[in-house]
């Protein structure tokens, strides 16, 4: 509770600083307005200023101040709307109002109350000006804007005077003053309780320097420039230090040492100017919590710890929405209704804990609740239903891994589609936003005991730890936050080479398949022969892992991020540039965009994939038929998609238009060669080999009497799919790949293959038209 009083005090201080500045501006504007009475722009600006002060003072329960500014606002709105014109009298009374506002603000600052100054005379004067403007506007016109400014008291009556026969029109004009005075009068009677506490609190500090004097506002641009310059200084220092180490001069060494200290301290101080306490973002949360919990019928107590933890203002801005989202989510889906809590043996009021702290060069922000938690089993259920995982994967996943599924885009998308209430909606967006600023998010949850979201955020955006790598003689920087591990691609010493799946390269990393891209391919740069073996940097972005092949890893260092010009930003390969210790520029790779580029899972493809996986999910529990296509490729077909295996006589295969069919048991069967369907380049030789043979093996798939045959090179084996490790590399005709019997095996998209043989297959089947075996040629 005491934190709430502190919070209030802080809001008041902010209000004071802001208002003092606004009033200075107001003085200038009013004077300028007197010289240039017609300026709508000036009037609008003045109106906004007074409106802001009125709004905030109402919010902070400074009733008198509100009453005064409300009256001023009335006059200003009339001036702004052109109902009245600026006269010396009007300017005079407005200026005096500003003076009184200033005096009252001083009172608030000294004593925490808006004082006992009598605002009524000025209010009356303002009303007098409103009522008797020299170029008297017609009464009806005057009534209109005045009515618009009224509060709930009698909005109907004011906007439709005709509907109220009791009130003569003249009174409508006269009414505003009465109406204005009435509600604040009640408010004035009320303030003492909230005002009393800060008043006592502030008494002994009368002679401290006032808030508005001890802090100044500085242009953000200027701060940015200071940060930049400090960054340059640090770079120059690094270069001098490097050189000084070589020279071994004692005097220079001492000077360098001092330079080192001063530069570091300067950088730190300058960075601090951009730092703001996280409280600035948290300040809005009590309101969010109060509104949402009353709206949802929950009882929630908000606890905040470490609100003075500071972080870079740009970062603060960036985490505002994700934090609000997490808080909303915690109340919506975390904290149970009071009755349910009592039934579960918990106190009626739920607790929402916000915690911020420095941890290992990063800021840790936690949002925790003591609600019902997330049940991993339910997540698994949903992920299975959406085809995000298959049963085999589900078996091997730990609870923590299941929880992490809430950050996968497909997961929350599916929740929206099926409208299943649960956590996860928009969590992928939260994660994307956090990752964009180089942070990370994790979740910890215990059913019935609550959920804690953990955000790790860098201290500042300007300096990031990075890995420098070498490729084709150039150095590139990769932000450490994206880096998981480094793997040396060493063919001779136990390491495995890269394998190929339908043109995509993969690497077997502890039995999972890691999609691999070459930096050279992404950048369009030819690789250069190197004597060292290349290295895979295993990177993570958007919840996907992939490997990036580079020539050599050089170093890890803190780099100062420099912006790129528009033309270079546009190409989407680089997140920025930096200057390394030797003064050369190095590009920072945009890992997020690399991931998008390389893995190419468009939303549409992903949906298609989900459908297929969902369809074959049951098959995964069963067994897979392994066939070979060409000399190298192993293809798996779910066994329940296989009706029978047949050998087809080569000379029974005939060509009908662009398709091939086979006469079989007195019927015509459409067929497709998997080698053609999957585009295996070696199929001609194998076909030639098959040509020598008299028959070709085929897999026949029949649904309600309608069949197609898939021709393969050989039938290899039938294996249990349970142990299969899936990776979602999607290529035409494939739904993924797995390591089966220590071999990379591709999972055939049977549906697509069948459609390639007989485009009408499923429509005909689904129309439930009983058909004789085979399609009409």
């Amino acid at each position: 509770m005491s934190s709430e009083a502190d919070l209030d005090l802080e809001i008041v201080q902010e209000f004071l600083v802001e208002s003092h500045e606004n009033l200075d501006q107001l003085d200038q504007d009013l004077v300028a307005l007197e010289q240039n009475p017609g300026s709508r722009e000036l009037l609008a600006s003045i109106f906004r200023t007074i409106h802001t002060i009125k709004g905030t003072s109402g919010f902070l329960a400074f009733g008198r101040l509100e009453k005064l500014t409300h009256a001023g606002e009335n006059l200003l709105s009339r001036l702004r709307d052109g109902v009245a014109t600026m006269t010396p009298e009007a300017a005079d009374v407005l200026l005096r109002m500003v003076d009184l506002v200033r005096a009252m603000l001083a009172d608030i600052e000294r004593r925490g109350t808006d004082g006992d100054a009598d605002v009524d005379p000025i209010v009356a004067e303002i009303m007098a000006v409103i009522e008797s403007p020299p170029p008297a506007p017609p009464a009806a016109a005057a009534a209109k804007p005045a009515a618009r400014r009224r509060t709930k008291a009698a909005p109907k009556a004011a906007s439709k005077p005709a509907a109220l026969p009791v009130e003569p029109p003249a009174e409508v004009v006269a009414e505003p003053p009465v109406e204005v005075v009435a509600p604040p009068a009640a408010a004035v009677a009320e303030p003492p309780p909230p005002v009393a506490a800060p008043a006592e609190h502030a008494e002994p500090t009368d002679n401290r320097s006032s808030v508005s004097e001890s802090s100044i506002r500085v242009d953000v641009e200027l701060l940015e420039q200071l940060v930049r310059l400090a960054g340059e200084l640090v770079l120059a220092r690094n270069q001098i230090l490097q050189r000084a180490n070589v020279l071994d001069d004692e005097t220079l060494g001492r000077a360098c040492h001092r330079l080192n200290l001063v530069a570091s301290e300067l950088q730190e101080s300058v960075m601090r100017t951009r730092m703001q306490p996280i409280d600035n973002v948290w300040a809005k949360l009590p309101r969010v919590v109060r509104d949402l919990s009353s709206q949802l019928g929950r009882k929630v107590r908000l606890e905040m710890e470490g609100g003075d933890t500071e972080l870079d203002r740009t970062l603060l801005e960036a985490i505002k929405d994700p934090l609000t989202h997490l808080v909303r989510n915690a109340i919506d889906h975390g904290v149970e209704e009071p009755a349910a809590r009592v039934a579960a043996g918990k106190p009626e009021t739920g607790v929402l804990r916000m915690r911020a702290a420095h941890e290992g060069g990063q800021i840790l922000v936690e949002v925790g609740d003591d609600g019902k938690g997330i049940d991993p089993a339910r997540i698994a259920e949903k992920a299975l239903a959406n085809g995000l995982i298959n049963t085999a994967q589900r078996e091997s996943m730990t609870d923590a891994e299941l929880l992490r599924l809430v950050f996968v885009p497909g997961f929350s998308m599916a929740t929206q589609v099926t409208n299943v209430s649960g956590r996860g909606v928009g969590m992928d967006v939260v994660r994307t936003n956090i990752e964009r600023i180089g942070g990370s998010i994790d979740v910890d949850s215990e059913p019935d005991n609550g959920t804690t979201w953990r955000l790790r955020i860098p201290l500042t955006l300007a300096i990031v730890p990075a890995l420098t790598v070498l490729f084709a003689g150039q150095r590139y920087a990769i932000p450490q936050v994206n880096l998981l591990e480094l793997v040396r691609l060493d063919g001779e010493h136990g390491g495995r080479a890269l394998e190929d799946i339908g043109g995509a390269q993969v690497y077997r990393l502890r039995d999972t398949l890691l999609p691999v891209i070459h930096l050279g391919e992404v950048l369009g740069v030819a690789a250069v022969e190197t004597e060292t073996s290349p290295v895979i940097a295993v990177l993570e972005s958007d919840g996907r892992n992939f490997g990036l092949v580079v020539d050599r890893v050089l170093d890890t260092e803190e780099i100062v991020v420099k912006p790129l010009c528009g033309a270079l930003k546009e190409i989407g390969l680089y997140a920025g540039a930096t200057i390394l210790g030797d003064g050369r520029v190095s590009l920072i790779l945009d890992v997020q965009s690399f991931a998008r580029r390389s893995i190419r899972v468009s939303e549409a493809a992903r949906e298609l994939l989900d459908v297929n996986v969902a369809e074959s999910a049951t098959a995964d529990e069963g067994q897979l038929l392994i066939v070979s296509v060409g000399a190298e490729r192993h293809i798996a077909i779910p066994l329940d998609m296989v009706t029978r295996l047949e050998e087809f006589a080569v000379d029974s295969i005939e060509r009908v238009g662009r398709r091939e069919v086979v006469r079989h048991r007195g019927a015509v069967l459409p067929l497709i060669r998997l080698s053609d369907f999957l585009g295996t380049p070696v199929h001609h030789t194998t076909d030639a080999a098959a040509g020598d043979a008299t028959s070709v093996p085929g897999v026949v798939y029949t649904v309600r009497g309608r069949s197609v045959a898939l021709l393969v090179s050989a039938i290899v084996d039938i294996v249990s799919a349970g142990a299969a490790v899936r990776s979602d590399i999607d290529d035409a005709g494939l739904i993924g790949s797995a390591v089966l019997h220590d071999r990379v095996t591709e999972l055939l998209d049977v549906r697509a293959a069948v459609l390639a043989a007989d485009p009408a297959f499923f429509t005909a089947v689904e129309d439930e038209v009983p058909d004789t075996v085979g399609a009409t040629p």
């Binding site: 960054g231 340059e232 770079l235 120059a236 150039q474 950048l523 369009g524 740069v525 420099k562 912006p563 790129l564 010009c565 528009g566 033309a567 270079l568 546009e570 190409i571 390969l573 680089y574 540039a577 930096t578 200057i579 003064g583 050369r584 520029v585 190095s586 590009l587």
Partner: protein, 146 residues
């Protein structure tokens, strides 16, 4: 009033100029980091006292033949400031700052074509040769103008 000062430089035997007030400084050859994937005219990035500046290969930008590695020992960086961004134009050789006036000015001839046509404001007829006035804004618009 109708006179202007142009900072001039040489490229493939031609004399080009940009208004002197746009030029921030001139530097000898700097180590330049290539930027794969960038528009063709971008030569790379240089470190200008801690600031990362994009360098344009002006020959490539103007569609002139590539530099002969043998005879040009160094490229020169003409750092220009445009829309609050600093850019470096790589040129063969720097010339004098020349005072020109409108009387010497001619629109680019209609027969002129190629990338230069868009990038040149016009020509000043000097006593011995032509000075081509480059439109720096357009030259730096590497994404729009190719």
């Amino acid at each position: 009033m109708s006179a202007a000062q142009l900072a001039t430089f040489h490229l493939d035997g031609y004399l080009f100029g940009v208004p002197v007030e746009q030029v921030q400084e001139v530097l000898m050859e700097q180590p330049c980091t290539p930027t794969p994937g960038a528009p063709d005219a971008v030569a790379g990035l240089i470190n200008l006292r801690g600031q990362v500046v994009t360098a344009l290969d002006l020959r490539r930008r103007l569609g002139l033949p590539g530099r002969d590695a043998a005879d040009e020992a160094q490229t020169i960086n003409v750092v220009v400031r445009c829309k609050d961004e600093a850019w470096s134009l790589l040129v063969d050789r720097i010339g004098d700052v020349m005072e020109v006036d409108d009387a010497q000015f001619e629109q680019p001839p209609d027969t002129m074509h190629g990338p230069q046509r868009e990038l040149i404001v016009g020509a000043y007829k000097l006593d011995t040769r032509l000075l081509l006035h480059l439109d720096a804004d357009r030259v730096l618009d590497v994404t729009g103008g190719g």
